[in-house]
């Protein structure tokens, strides 16, 4: 496996009154948060609550309309040590190995080291036998794992996952969760959105609950699930339809 790198320069990640508005609609409303190294931060909330937008802003793909974001105290830090797994990742028109090789090259990994890293990453996500298969012909679960390997190829300090198991069966979901645990163990900070409360309980160090673009709660997982402070989170956990 790859060596552990120095503590991430991209952490802590802070949002200071961050808002995103598009065409008169407020998608994120004055979010304040700080994320630091440690167990995964799980982002939950109903559809349209702003989870994906929050992850895109945190990744640096989308500039906020108001407020500021800092990565390790710096604004406008280039995303060298951040990676994201989109909810519907695009597969490059190359083989599975070719997709990872591309990410390694984008991350500036020397050519001589790439082959070994490709093998290690494919093995880590359980795709070692499919290296030569065109990526677009893999199954949905395999594509998701390949996209995860591609994100890990960037050797991120912070890894954002946008509902990575939304369309996967239990076995494939377990595969992704195992990888989340193992990368967390090597010191990668995972920030992940999910609709699956069981998954949130299994993985979370802390939970952020988002509703209508506002961060309603951000607390340690045990506290959140035992005694949510807000009415909305209470309903959400109880399984009531929150609209």
């Amino acid at each position: 496996m790859k060596p552990m790198r120095a503590p991430a320069a991209d952490l802590p990640l802070t949002f200071d009154e961050v808002s995103v508005r598009a065409r008169g609609v407020t998608i994120l409303d004055r979010i304040k948060l700080t994320l630091d190294a440690g167990l995964p931060t799980i982002l939950i909330g109903p559809n349209g609550s702003g989870k994906t937008t929050l992850l895109r802003v945190a990744m640096g793909l989308l500039a906020p309309s108001g407020g500021r974001i800092t990565w390790g105290g710096r604004e406008h830090a280039s995303p060298d040590r951040r990676a994201i797994l989109f909810q519907r990742p695009a597969m490059l028109r190359r083989s599975a190995a070719g997709n990872i090789r591309y990410a390694l090259s984008a991350a500036g990994v020397p050519r001589a080291e790439r082959a070994a890293r490709v093998d290690a990453l494919l093995t880590e996500v359980g795709l070692a036998g499919l290296a030569k298969r065109p990526a677009r012909r893999l199954s949905g679960g395999e594509q998701q794992r390949l996209a995860l390997a591609r994100a890990l190829a960037l050797d991120p300090a912070v890894l954002f996952l946008d509902e990575p198991t939304a369309s996967l069966d239990p076995a494939a979901t377990k595969g992704i969760e195992d990888i989340v645990r193992s990368v967390t163990a090597r010191g990668v900070k995972v920030v992940m959105s999910t609709h699956d409360l069981g998954q949130a309980k299994r993985l979370a160090g802390d939970v952020m609950f988002l509703h209508r673009g506002r961060l309603i709660e951000h607390s340690p997982a045990e506290d959140f699930f035992a005694a949510p402070r807000s009415e909305e989170a209470h309903k959400f956990i109880a399984g009531d339809l929150l609209v």
């Binding site: 990744m59 995303p79 060298d80 190359r94 083989s95 591309y102 984008a106 065109p134």
Partner: protein
């Protein structure tokens, strides 16, 4: 008429040197033009696909319109440029195969650029977020998109080749249809038909159609193989 067809076939099968010199020159001119037009047109298409700039919509409309440039008008323009008294007259290119290649580049490059723009823009929509997340720089983005779209771009090259191989207007004007030097299949067919020598005209017509079919079959094979290999 059927007698002419038989004689034409005999002419083709006998490997008549005059006929094959004409075929060879035609291929040389059209393939060179397509190659150079691709070198010019694909990066232009990619640049338009990836960038947002004032007048972009107008540029796309003009580019699409240029796909229908009348060959005789292009021929006339190049003629004026290359003629002895024209701005590029000193190079003595008029009535040479090079002049024909230049004229065909002008006809083919807009087709390749316009089709490449569409292909690359579609792929860009799909790849945009991933490449941004991987922090891929602007030139590497273009290279990635062209590379990953390469099998779809074959279609654009084919359309360009179809245009080049079939047109007669521009190369007749700037090449002059000089026997053994600038006489191509299309200009020869036009000339022989007007002279009444239908045998050579029909023979060349058969060869021209066969070549277009073969080139399309090759391109189809390349595309299928590419899809199998790259998905």
């Amino acid at each position: 008429m059927s007698g002419d067809n038989v004689s034409a076939l005999q002419l083709v099968l006998s490997g008549d040197p005059e006929l094959f010199a004409i075929v060879w020159l035609s291929l040389e001119v059209s393939l060179s033009a397509v190659f150079l037009a691709a070198v010019i047109g694909v990066p232009i298409g990619a640049a338009i696909a990836l960038n947002r700039f004032p007048g972009r919509e107008t540029t796309i409309v003009i580019l699409n319109a240029l796909m229908g440039l009348p060959p005789v008008v292009v021929g006339l323009a190049i003629y004026l440029l290359l003629s002895r008294s024209g701005p590029l007259g000193e190079f003595g290119l008029l009535f040479t195969p090079e002049a024909m290649v230049i004229a065909q580049i002008l006809l083919v490059a807009p087709i390749i650029a316009a089709l490449a723009r569409q292909t690359i823009e579609d792929l860009w929509m799909e790849y945009h977020d991933e490449l941004a997340a991987m922090n891929v720089g602007p030139f590497a983005r273009i290279a990635t998109l062209i590379w990953d779209a390469r099998f779809s771009l074959v279609t654009a090259l084919l359309a360009g080749f179809g245009r080049a191989a079939a047109e007669v207007g521009s190369i007749l004007i700037v090449g002059g249809n000089i026997k053994g030097f600038t006489r191509t299949m299309t200009t020869a067919i036009a000339l022989e038909t007007s002279k009444g020598d239908l045998v050579l005209a029909i023979g060349l017509g058969m060869v021209l159609i066969a070549i277009v079919v073969i080139i399309n079959a090759l391109a189809w094979g390349v595309r299928r193989a590419g899809e199998h290999y790259a998905g």
